[in-house]
Structure formats: structure tokens, C-alpha cells
């Protein structure tokens, strides 16, 4: 198969099979998780097939027209970057869905869980393989929606709902900014297709010199930052930790939060090499890295700690993608790409460990945990590998990419010149120091120290193989990538970096490369990190007291204020628009009707001098008089039965009137229908005892009477004007029916011919309405059995 079909299949297979999950669940019960991981595995195999093409340094693009007039098409772009993400998504997907078999209780709503996981995986794959920006946007928002559903998986927990809403508000609205950015980009380049721009140097130069350059860059970057929890948008990620832990490991550390990174890497060739790119991307990255790393200290929930560390680590990657100068547009690209891959391994591993600890010890609070290394030795080893890799300790993969981070920081500092030669590496080291400190805290808080007497179960042990194996597999990858980096560097990182830089890249990644300045920086990091670690508690305490003193210095404070404000405003709006009494709505409609009729009457009043016509036979006048009497009787008679009889009299009089109006069919129907209505009415009314007697106050009566008189006047004027020589803009269809009733339909009664012949489908619809009404009546009567 060609790459286009392979990738299309890999993207849409999860969507298709997600639909079958409930049916499969009926067959294999709680083993449904294995079905889901099988789907992920098939997608993985499909994507692996394309890898040889990419290792050769080629890229591939194919498309199918969708909305050609708008330049929107379904198009797949396969290059190193998309393949790297495709592999991360599917591999972590397999691991997570297998792990979920042990983590999720069998009592949970498993089909819903796996369905949304599969839908997410499909959307994420679609996102990274999209060449068309509109298609990318659609998949982008799909990932936000699936993430929303997964964070809010436990629907009855208020924290879950809060976290889900927050993540949706931040990431989905960020996506709208991104869409606006894509549209600006299209207005500059004339295409929604990103590969067209990438492969055209003059087009990129046009973008750089265009007056909307900054607008496009900022809008797209807001999208990326909101998704990757950078800058002020970080707030949604810690609350997203209310999701089941496998979801956090999958979406909120390894894949979805990297969509923003992906976007930055994807548009890197278009925007990089400019000051704005460096200031925006690296600037946001550095600030986020430091602030999030620092804020991690006061977290007592292990998952929250990991969330802040994820924000900080994503900021590393963002910073490195932002390192750019005019001559060297991508100083940190290779390092960023490698760190992205490494972060996916060690962070997912740590989340799985957090899930194991929460599952076995029934708490995620580090103040209640401690000393578990004897009871959970395997988990302890895996956690140590993950955390040390995150801290940048050799011989794990985190060390390698951390070194590369320092190297590229030095390079960037040199490129900018004094005083940045010192400042940028120093900031990078500061970020590393925080990382080191909280990574060590992660291990010591759970596995060292004194085991608490209370609060955790008395017997804690390593979990089942189902849960330990996925984590162990990731730990194995961490060591493998650390010891033999060439495997991934040559096969994945180099092609990815090449595809971002649009030229072939060669990397030499080794564990030992002499006493370089980056190694010195690493050593400084370790020393300062240990120093900070000894002050860990007091720093956390200081942060807490600061937060108590100044609660308003916080992005969350602003977010809550905005959201609550919006909620209250809408609540007021809703209670104004929906006051409740039906009368209010009816009144609004009636007043609107009066206004809508009154305006044209007033405008046309000069042209319409009504001619009055009192030419009636005496018996007709009598019928009209009795009609009014009957209507008044139906309105004022106090007993229901009397009123209904009076209403029925009105109905028969209307039938009589139809005869005078030369409408025999109507008269016949009216009499039959009135008989039926009266029977139904009486049958129902005798069962309703008349307990309620409405008291109408004089002012109320005046108001309602005024409205009624206004309506009556409007109708009267309408009727007087109706035949006063207004030439209708169209011919009346009636002529057609009169002329053709006999020749076309062979019927003499024109009304009947219209009903059953010319407009036969309308009559069919009418019969359907009757059937539905009959069903409705039947069900209304029978529905009472359940409540009693």
C-alpha cells in the first residue's frame, strides 16, 4: 500500500473501531481494554511501514479534494516530524491501554473510557499527519473535545467537571486563535496548505517581510501555547489531573500537550530566523520553565507535581525550538526533538508509577506517603529510573538531551553576544536545578523516609504484572535510549530535525564527550539542585504563605473571576429570558405580532381606504351573532363542562358558516372534527375536578383586555385591507388548480383534488401527524403506570 492509504487507515481505524467498542464489550466483557490496545497496535504497524521512507530523508504528500473552492482538502503529509509523533502516539497508546486493564476497575463504564481514548488517538494522529491547516484545526479541536470527555470521565466529581471545563475553555479557545492565525497566513500566502509554504523559499520570504507577519505568528503561537500549557495558559494542566491516571499519562504528558510543540515545530521553517520568533517562543518558554519548576515545590499531590514538571519540561522544548538567529535558524531543533522523545518516555513512566502508587496506597498525597521502597521494590526501581532521567542524571536518556539543551543555550548566548552569553545559560541551569530538586523529591517522598502509621493500607505491595510491565517497558526504553542513543537518533531524531530544518542534519550524541562547558553546567546543576533540595520544605512553605497573603497574584484567580462572572451574567440573562410563566412568553409573542402588523399598517394607511360591505342575509347575521355568544360563553361560563359545550356550539356554528362561505368540504370536515373534539374534551374534562378558580384582579383584567383588543383590532384592520387592491407579487396558484383539476386529475371537486392529488404528500404528512398525536395520547395515558 502507498503511504497515503497506510496513514489514512492508521488515522481512521481508531475512529471506526471506537464505534464498535460497545458491541465488542458485550462479547469479551472487561477484556475490552486489550481490544483497544490491539487497535493501537494495528495503527502502530501501519505507521511503522512508512518509516523506511522517512529514514531515507524523503517526505510524502497526497491529498483528496474536499472543498476545492475554499482551498480546503484532505491531505496527508508524512515527514520525520509527523512520523516521530505518530510513533510516540501509537506506542504510548498501546502501553496506556494495556496498563488501563489493570488500573480501571471492572465496575467502571469501560466502553466509554476506551471509546474516548481511541477517538483521541485517531484525532491526534490526524492532527500530526495533516498538511492542510483547516484539517489540522479540525483534528486539533477534536483532541480538545476528547480530552474534555476524558478529564471529566468521573462525571459526578465536581473537581473533574471543573478541570474538564477549564481545559476545554483554554485549549479550544486557543485553537480558535490558531484558526485565525491560519487564516491570516492564508491571506499572506494564498494557501491553506502548509507544505506548499514550506517548500517555497520565496513564499517564506514574503511571509517574513509581510506586515501581517507578527499577527500570524502571535495568533498561531497562542494556539500552541494554550495546548502545551505555556505562559499564562498553564493553568488548565494541573486541574486536568482529575482524569484517570492512564489518561494523564497519555494525553497530558506524552501526546496532547505536545500538540502545541508539534505546531511550533511545524511552522518553525516559516517563522524562525526572526527576532520575534526568538522573543515569543523562547521568552515564553524560559519564563514558563522557571515559574512552573518553582511552583512544583508546593504541590503535595504526586500528579500535580508531575503536571507542573510537565509544564516546565514542555517549556524546555519550547525554549529550544525558539533558539534562532538569522544565520542559524534552528540552533536547538535537534536537541528539542530529542528531548521531546525522551520526555514522552520518562514522564509517561512516572505517571504510570503515580498510578501504581495511588492504586496500591489509595492516596496521592506525598505528605501521607513514605518509606515504600521495601514494600514495592520493583516500582521503586522503575520510579528511580524515570525520576533520575528527568533530573538529567547519567546514564539515562534525560541526561543526553539535558546536555544538548545546555549546549544549545550556550550557542544561543554566544550568537546574541554579551550580556546574553551568560544570562541564557544561567537561566537554563536555573530551570535544570528546579527539575533536579523536584525529581529527587518525587522519589524520596514516596519511597524513603518513615512509613506513616496511619492513612495508608497496612499491606502494600507491587501491583499485578499488567500494571508493572508497561512501566517497566518504558523504563527499559529510558535506559536503552541513554546507553545506545544512536538507534533513535539516526532513525527518528535526525529525520525529524532534517524535516524541520528542511535540510539534512547529522547528530553525534554520546554519553561522554569530554569536559565540555555543558558538562560543567550539569555538575553545577547537580550541586545547586542538592542545595535547593535541602531547603525544599521551607521553599514550599514560603510559597504557601505567599499565596495565602496575596491570593490575587495568580492566573487561576483571574480565570475563576472571569468564568464566575460570565456564569453569573448568563444566569441573570437566562432568568430574564426564561422567567417561567407561560404567559410571559405568550405576551412577548403577542406584543411582537401587534408591532409587526402595526408598522406596515401605519405606513400604508393613506393608500388603504377600506370600503365597508354590510351586505348580508339576516340568517347569516344570526349565525355570526350566535358565534360571538358561544365564544363569550366558552370564555366566561364557570364550569368546565358548560364552557366545553359552549365551545362545541361555536365549532358547529363555524361549520355552518363554512356552508355560507361556499366551502362544503370544510363544513363537512368541521362538523366531524368538532364532534370528535367534543367527545375527547368531555371524556377528559369529567375526570378533572374543578378545584382551581382563577381570580382576575381588575388591573390584570385591564392589561389582558388591552392586549386582546389590540390583537382583535390588528386582525380587523388586516381583514379590511386584505382584499383592498393590493396586487400580490405572484400569480395565485389557485388558477392552476382550477384549470387542471379536471384534465390532469380527472376530479370535479377542486378542493379534494388539491388535497389527495396535487398535494398528496402534504396529506401524507398530515396523516403522519395524526398517527404521532395518537401515539402521544396513548403514551401519555400509559406513562402514569410507572409513577404509581
Amino acid at each position: 500500500m502507498d503511504p497515503f492509504r497506510l496513514v489514512t487507515l492508521a488515522v481512521f481505524l481508531p475512529f471506526l473501531l471506537a464505534a464498535t467498542v460497545p458491541a465488542v464489550e458485550k462479547l469479551i466483557k472487561h477484556r475490552i481494554g486489550w481490544f483497544a490496545s490491539l487497535v493501537a497496535f494495528i495503527s502502530f504497524l501501519l505507521i511503522i511501514n512508512v518509516v523506511p521512507l522517512v529514514i531515507q530523508g524523503e517526505s510524502f504528500k497526497a491529498s483528496v479534494e474536499w472543498l476545492p473552492s475554499m482551498g480546503i482538502e484532505y491531505s496527508i503529509y508524512v515527514d520525520g516530524l509527523s512520523i516521530l509523533f505518530g510513533i510516540i502516539i501509537t506506542v504510548i497508546g498501546i502501553i496506556i491501554m494495556s496498563y488501563s486493564n489493570g488500573y480501571m476497575s471492572r465496575k467502571e463504564d469501560l466502553p466509554r473510557y476506551y471509546q474516548w481514548l481511541l477517538l483521541f488517538m485517531g484525532s491526534m494522529l490526524g492532527l500530526v499527519f495533516s498538511a492542510n491547516t483547516i484539517m489540522m484545526f479540525i483534528f486539533w479541536e477534536l483532541t480538545s473535545i476528547t480530552s474534555f470527555m476524558l478529564i471529566g470521565y468521573w462525571r459526578n466529581r465536581p473537581e473533574s467537571v471543573y478541570g474538564a471545563t477549564k481545559s476545554l475553555l483554554v485549549t479550544a479557545s486557543g485553537g480558535l486563535f490558531m484558526l485565525a492565525g491560519f487564516i491570516v497566513l492564508r491571506s499572506i500566502t494564498g494557501t491553506f496548505d502548509i507544505t506548499t509554504i514550506l517548500q517555497n523559499d520565496t513564499l517564506i520570504k514574503t511571509v517574513h517581510s509581510h506586515e501581517f507577519f507578527l499577527a500570524a505568528l502571535v495568533l498561531i503561537f497562542i494556539g500552541a501555547a494554550s495546548k502545551s500549557a505555556q505562559g499564562p495558559f498553564y493553568i488548565w494542566l494541573p486541574n486536568a489531573m482529575e482524569a484517570p491516571t492512564p489518561v494523564s499519562a497519555f494525553l497530558h504528558s506524552a501526546t496532547m500537550v505536545k500538540a502545541g510543540i508539534y505546531l511550533v515545530a511545524r511552522v518553525h521553517p516559516i517563522f524562525s530566523g526572526t527576532e520575534a520568533w526568538f522573543i515569543l517562543v523562547s521568552g515564553t518558554g524560559i519564563i514558563t520553565m522557571l515559574v512552573a519548576g518553582f511552583l512544583a515545590f508546593r504541590q503535595t499531590d504526586i500528579k500535580a507535581l508531575l503536571a507542573y514538571s510537565t509544564i516546565s519540561q514542555l517549556a524546555y522544548i519550547m525554549t529550544m525550538y525558539g533558539y534562532t538567529t538569522y544565520h542559524q535558524p534552528g540552533i536547538g531543533v535537534a536537541a528539542a526533538t530529542f528531548h521531546l522523545l525522551n520526555h514522552a518516555t520518562f514522564k509517561a513512566c512516572l505517571f504510570l508509577v503515580a498510578g501504581i502508587v495511588a492504586h496500591e496506597a489509595a492516596t496521592r498525597d506525598i505528605t501521607k506517603l513514605g518509606g515504600l521502597r521495601h514494600e514495592m521494590p520493583v516500582t521503586f526501581i522503575i520510579a528511580s529510573i524515570g525520576a533520575l532521567s528527568m533530573a538529567g542524571v547519567p546514564p539515562f536518556n534525560g541526561f543526553l538531551s539535558k546536555e544538548m539543551f545546555y549546549e544549545s543555550s550556550i550557542e544561543m548566548g554566544h550568537a546574541l553576544g554579551s550580556p546574553f552569553t551568560f544570562i541564557i545559560p544561567a537561566l537554563a541551569v536555573a530551570g535544570g536545578v528546579f527539575t533536579f530538586a523536584y525529581s529527587i523529591k518525587f522519589i524520596t517522598a514516596i519511597f524513603f523516609g518513615k512509613r506513616p502509621e496511619k492513612g495508608i493500607p497496612s499491606h502494600i505491595h507491587d501491583p499485578s504484572v499488567i500494571m508493572i510491565l508497561p512501566a517497566a517497558f518504558l523504563a527499559g526504553l529510558i535506559i536503552l535510549f541513554g546507553l545506545v542513543p544512536s538507534i533513535v537518533v539516526q532513525n527518528l531524531v535526525e529525520p525529524t530535525a532534517s524535516s524541520i530544518m528542511m535540510e539534512t542534519q547529522h547528530l553525534h550524541v554520546k554519553m561522554w564527550h569530554g569536559f565540555t562547558s555543558s558538562l560543567m553546567m550539569t555538575l553545577v546543576t547537580f550541586m545547586l539542585g542538592i542545595l535547593i533540595y535541602t531547603k525544599y520544605e521551607s521553599i514550599a512553605e514560603w510559597q504557601n504563605s505567599f499565596n495565602r497573603k496575596y491570593p490575587f497574584i495568580s492566573v487561576n484567580y483571574v480565570y475563576d473571576g472571569l468564568v464566575n462572572n460570565a456564569r453569573n451574567t448568563l444566569k441573570r440573562f437566562a432568568s430574564f429570558m426564561q422567567p417561567g410563566p407561560v404567559k410571559a412568553y405568550v405576551l412577548a409573542l403577542l406584543v411582537l405580532t401587534i408591532i409587526l402588523f402595526a408598522i406596515p399598517f401605519l405606513k400604508l394607511s393613506t393608500d388603504l381606504a377600506p370600503t365597508l360591505n354590510f351586505n348580508l342575509e339576516p340568517y347569516e347575521v344570526l349565525v355570526l351573532f350566535f358565534m360571538i355568544v358561544a365564544a363569550v360563553g366558552a370564555a366566561v361560563l364557570p364550569k368546565y363542562l358548560q364552557a366545553v359545550i359552549s365551545l362545541s356550539a361555536l365549532g358547529y356554528l363555524v361549520g355552518l358558516l363554512f356552508i355560507y362561505l361556499s366551502a362544503p368540504d370544510l363544513a363537512l370536515t368541521q362538523v366531524l372534527v368538532e364532534t370528535l373534539t367534543t367527545i375527547i374534551f368531555v371524556l377528559a374534562i369529567v375526570k378533572i375536578p374543578q378545584t382551581f378558580k382563577e381570580h382576575i384582579s381588575p388591573s390584570q383584567f385591564m392589561k389582558d383586555a388591552l392586549i386582546s383588543v389590540a390583537i382583535a383590532s390588528v386582525v380587523f384592520i388586516l381583514l379590511l385591507s386584505a382584499t383592498q387592491g393590493i396586487v400580490s407579487p405572484f400569480e395565485s396558484l389557485s388558477y392552476y388548480f382550477i384549470e387542471n383539476a379536471l384534465p390532469l386529475a380527472g376530479g370535479h371537486n377542486i378542493v379534494n383534488v388539491i388535497i389527495v392529488d396535487f398535494r398528496g404528500y402534504d396529506t401524507l404528512g398530515e396523516i403522519a401527524v395524526m398517527c404521532l398525536a395518537a401515539l402521544g395520547v396513548y403514551n401519555l395515558i400509559h406513562s402514569r403506570g410507572e409513577s404509581q
Binding site: 354590510f614 370564555a635 375527547i680 381583514l719 400569480e731
Partner: protein, 138 residues
């Protein structure tokens, strides 16, 4: 040409119906809706496009010609004279009758539905006062 007394009667029916649907007693509201639907039916029938008097039933076998030019073009049809000849049709407008015929039957369906609804509301809540049904009030 419309008869003024008929028009007056129809508008009075409208007024009474409007007053009734503003009531709190659900049975009265239903009665009001019935009166309104009678009034609307009469209104439509009374504003037919023709001034003929005969029942729209063709009594002889030849085709009744209306001397009308049918112009299907929107551009030419607008503001074009509806009738070619000076002799209008002998019939009343059959189209409005067909519309109202459908409306009468549909109103049977809706009336039956809401009557039973009122009956069920009385059973569930023990009242016919719509102000006591407050679950959806803002």
C-alpha cells in the same frame, strides 16, 4: 370583497381567544387555543384571492378556463397582472379551502394531545393552575 360583519366577528373571536390563552387555568387556555384556531381558519377562508361565489366543484365536463397567463419566470411574474381577461372566475378560491381542510384535521390532533396533557398534568400535580408548574422557572 369581504364582508365587514364577518371580519368583525373573526376579530372578536381573536380577541376572546387571546384573552383566554393569557389565563392561568389550563382548561381555559385550551379553550382559548380552540377558539383561536377557529378564528384563524375563518380568516384564511375569508381572504381567498377570488371574488367568485360558486362552490369550487366543476359541474360540467369541459375545462373551466380562467383566461390566465401562467408566467413561471420570477422576474416577469412579479407585478404582472394576475388575470388576462376581465372576467374573473366563477368559483371561490379552492386553494385556501384545501389549506384550511388540512388545518382543521391537524387542530384535532393537537387539541386531543393538549387535552390529554392537561389531564395528565392534573393527575401528576393535582392542579390545573399552570403557575404551580414551576420546575423550569428561571
Amino acid at each position: 370583497m369581504n364582508n365587514t360583519l364577518l371580519s368583525l366577528t373573526i376579530s372578536i373571536l381573536f380577541g376572546i381567544g387571546t384573552f383566554l390563552i393569557l389565563r392561568r387555568d389550563i382548561v381555559k387556555v385550551i379553550i382559548g387555543l380552540s377558539i383561536l384556531s377557529h378564528a384563524v381558519n375563518l380568516l384564511i377562508v375569508s381572504v381567498g384571492a377570488f371574488s367568485g361565489k360558486d362552490v369550487p366543484i366543476i359541474t360540467h365536463d369541459e375545462v373551466a378556463s380562467t383566461n390566465t397567463i401562467f408566467i413561471d419566470s420570477l422576474i416577469n411574474g412579479i407585478f404582472a397582472p394576475m388575470l388576462n381577461g376581465t372576467n374573473p372566475t366563477q368559483y371561490v378560491d379552492p386553494l385556501v379551502q384545501a389549506l384550511v381542510l388540512t388545518a382543521i384535521v391537524i387542530s384535532l390532533a393537537t387539541t386531543a394531545m393538549i387535552i390529554i396533557l392537561a389531564y395528565r398534568i392534573h393527575e401528576e400535580y393535582g392542579t390545573t393552575d399552570i403557575h404551580k408548574l414551576k420546575r423550569l422557572w428561571g
